[in-house]
């Protein structure tokens, strides 16, 4: 591999306090090292348990670029296995989801495996007699990932067997997942339909950074949100006509800088953080009839108000997801290549809540994050222009300096002005940490 392989100093040199080197976005060798180290050392989102509700149900996805299967084993537990037959390498499952019954059977030579990955049977097994098969890696079956954690229905995995434990990796940031799940009167979410799948010809980190970039909506999205407001104001309508749901969703994107400054950003250790500490673009949605009463019945009034009063905007879980608690949405930024990212946008039903909430959630997903979305079109335009622009030799560094203060300590939880780029700096601090953690060499 290149100049970066096994050279932790070269990797560390890509991140400075207020700027990062373009190779972080455009260099294929850096990307390969991300897949080898960063995506193996961190806890990466795999799927939601409701995508495999019954024994034998499975769901195929990737952790970084590693193909995996998330499956519900016969004991009811979720397992995450490498999607590769230990015999010849054939992917065991290629459909996106299904039920495999009590075991997986490789379609090539019929090696079969229990749903925890253990080898069950090999046809004509006598052919391996006295060959030492029991000493091979193959006999162990489909390899499980290093560690799996099901947190309130959200399944995360760490590829490496050793590394940070789940609780210390996420810490207090789990409060955003808690808030999303608590919004169900029954404390439970269910995935609602398949995700949007939107291919971006840019580096995955541009998308993650954009989640807490509060200085772009009123610029990049003026064409959609700004035009929507103009059209609504020009429309002939009776006095006091209520804004349609779509307007409630799209109009706040045009909020002024001051709105975003005051909403606040919170950063947590290990690259996690969220916008919308005090309020957010989701704060002023109309109440859905019957919902508050259901929440009060389930939690009591004080607790219900506390849950619904928390209107966090975007929570980034490093390395590659964002969730919106008030919307019940999760976006997964799947790295494909240095210049290619697949964005999958999932929505969830709040079990026990009115359907109209899910209607707003589904509307948000398609209006903002679909490949056919007016908002998404302008975001993608920016990312792709940046991916191309970074090849310019005019400057090799990307600026992340807004509201920087000397001696920032990312191991501390901080709440700051909502337009700070501290969360981006927090991500790059974590990026360097988890990239070099397993690289060897001098720290």
């Amino acid at each position: 591999m290149s100049r970066y392989a096994s050279d932790r100093r070269a990797i560390e040199a890509l991140v400075r306090p207020t700027e990062v080197h373009r190779d972080i976005y455009i260099d294929e060798d850096v990307f390969a090292l991300e897949m080898k180290h960063l995506f193996a050392n961190t806890w990466v989102f795999v799927g939601h348990e409701s995508q495999a509700p019954n024994k034998g149900d499975y769901f195929t996805t990737e952790i970084g670029t590693q193909p995996v299967i998330m499956v519900r084993h016969s004991d009811g537990e979720i397992h995450v296995l490498h999607n590769r037959c230990p015999h010849k390498g054939t992917k065991i499952a290629i459909d996106r989801s299904g039920n495999t019954g009590k075991f997986f059977r490789c379609p090539y030579h019929a090696w079969s495996f229990k749903t925890d990955g253990c080898l069950l049977a090999i046809p004509l097994r006598k052919g391996y007699k006295d060959t030492g098969l029991e000493e091979s890696q193959s006999v162990k079956g489909m390899a499980p990932v290093g560690a799996v954690k099901n947190y309130r229905g959200f399944v995360f995995a760490r590829l490496n067997p050793d590394g940070p434990d789940f609780d210390s990796f996420f810490g207090d940031s789990l409060s955003s997942i808690d808030n999303m799940v608590d919004r169900s009167p029954e404390g439970r979410l269910e995935v609602a339909g398949p995700p949007l799948r939107y291919m971006h010809r840019c580096n995955w980190k541009m998308l993650v950074e954009n989640q807490t970039d509060t200085c772009h909506p009123m610029v990049a999205h003026e064409s959609s949100a700004g035009t929507a407001i103009e059209l609504w104001e020009q429309m002939d309508k009776p006095e006091g006509t209520r804004k349609p749901m779509a307007m409630e969703v799209i109009a706040p994107f045009m909020s002024p800088y001051e709105f975003f400054e005051n909403m606040g950003i919170r950063t947590w250790p290990n690259g996690h953080g969220h916008t919308g500490v005090h309020h957010s673009i989701h704060s002023d949605y109309s109440a859905i009839p019957g919902y508050f009463e259901q929440m009060v019945a389930a939690y009591g009034e004080d607790r219900a108000k506390a849950i619904l009063g928390e209107n966090r905007h975007n929570t980034v879980y490093f390395p590659n997801i964002m969730i919106k608690g008030p919307i019940q949405q999760l976006r997964l930024f799947k790295p494909v290549a240095a210049n290619r990212t697949l964005v999958e946008s999932y929505i969830y039903r709040l079990v026990g809540a009115p359907d109209m909430l899910l209607e707003r959630t589904a509307m948000y997903n398609r209006l903002i994050n679909a490949p056919t979305s007016m908002v998404g079109h302008d975001d993608l335009e920016m990312y792709e222009r940046a991916q191309e622009g970074l090849h310019s030799d005019g400057l090799e560094w990307v600026n992340v300096q807004r509201l920087y203060t000397q001696g920032e300590d990312f191991d501390e939880i901080a709440v700051e002005n909502g337009t700070t780029e501290r969360q981006m700096r927090n991500q790059f601090h974590a990026w360097a940490k988890y990239m070099t953690m397993t690289m060897g060499g001098d720290a």
Binding site: L196, R197, N365
Partner: protein, 160 residues
């Protein structure tokens, strides 16, 4: 027209596609009834247009917004503008109910969208629900199913 003939219905579907290809968007907006929807499902055989994600589910306001946005000075993903091109198989007339003034057509088509050096080709089926309003055919519902609706797409910027 009194009642639309089979040819009138077929011509209507062709003419609608031509308006989009020619960029005659304001004329295109006038083809719709006020409470109509344009629906592009995300999933094969999708039944629900509200409680799961769709690619598009646009009422009159959202269609108008999309068209107005195309014209904007700061519509960055439309600098330069996208162009599109429809190739239609002859529409089937699935329902022709003069008593109700309601008509349904089913049209297979291929759609090409281009901008800068990129060009995409999509295969799709359109189901038009039409209604006779003051002697003119109007669209009450148009459903567009992409053959590969579950695939990962880049930007699809125009109405199909």
């Amino acid at each position: 027209m009194a009642f639309p003939t089979r040819d009138d219905l077929i011509d209507f579907v062709y003419e609608e596609a031509r308006m989009l290809d020619d960029g005659r968007f304001d004329e295109w907006l006038d083809l719709w009834t006020p409470d109509s929807f344009y629906w592009m499902p995300l999933d094969y055989n999708q039944k629900d247009d509200k409680h799961v994600t769709s690619l598009l589910h646009e009422d009159a306001f959202m269609r108008k917004l999309r068209i107005e946005r195309f014209k904007g000075e700061r519509t960055f993903s439309q600098k330069p503008k996208t162009r599109c091109h429809h190739v239609l198989q002859r529409p089937f007339v699935d329902q022709q109910d003069d008593d109700k003034g309601e008509y349904v057509t089913h049209t297979s088509f291929q759609y090409v969208e281009t901008r800068l050096d990129d060009q995409i080709l999509l295969a799709a089926t359109a189901r038009h629900e039409l209604k006779l309003v003051d002697g003119k055919l109007k669209i009450t519902h148009k459903r567009v199913d992409l053959l590969n609706s579950d695939a990962a797409f880049g930007n699809i910027q125009m109405f199909l």
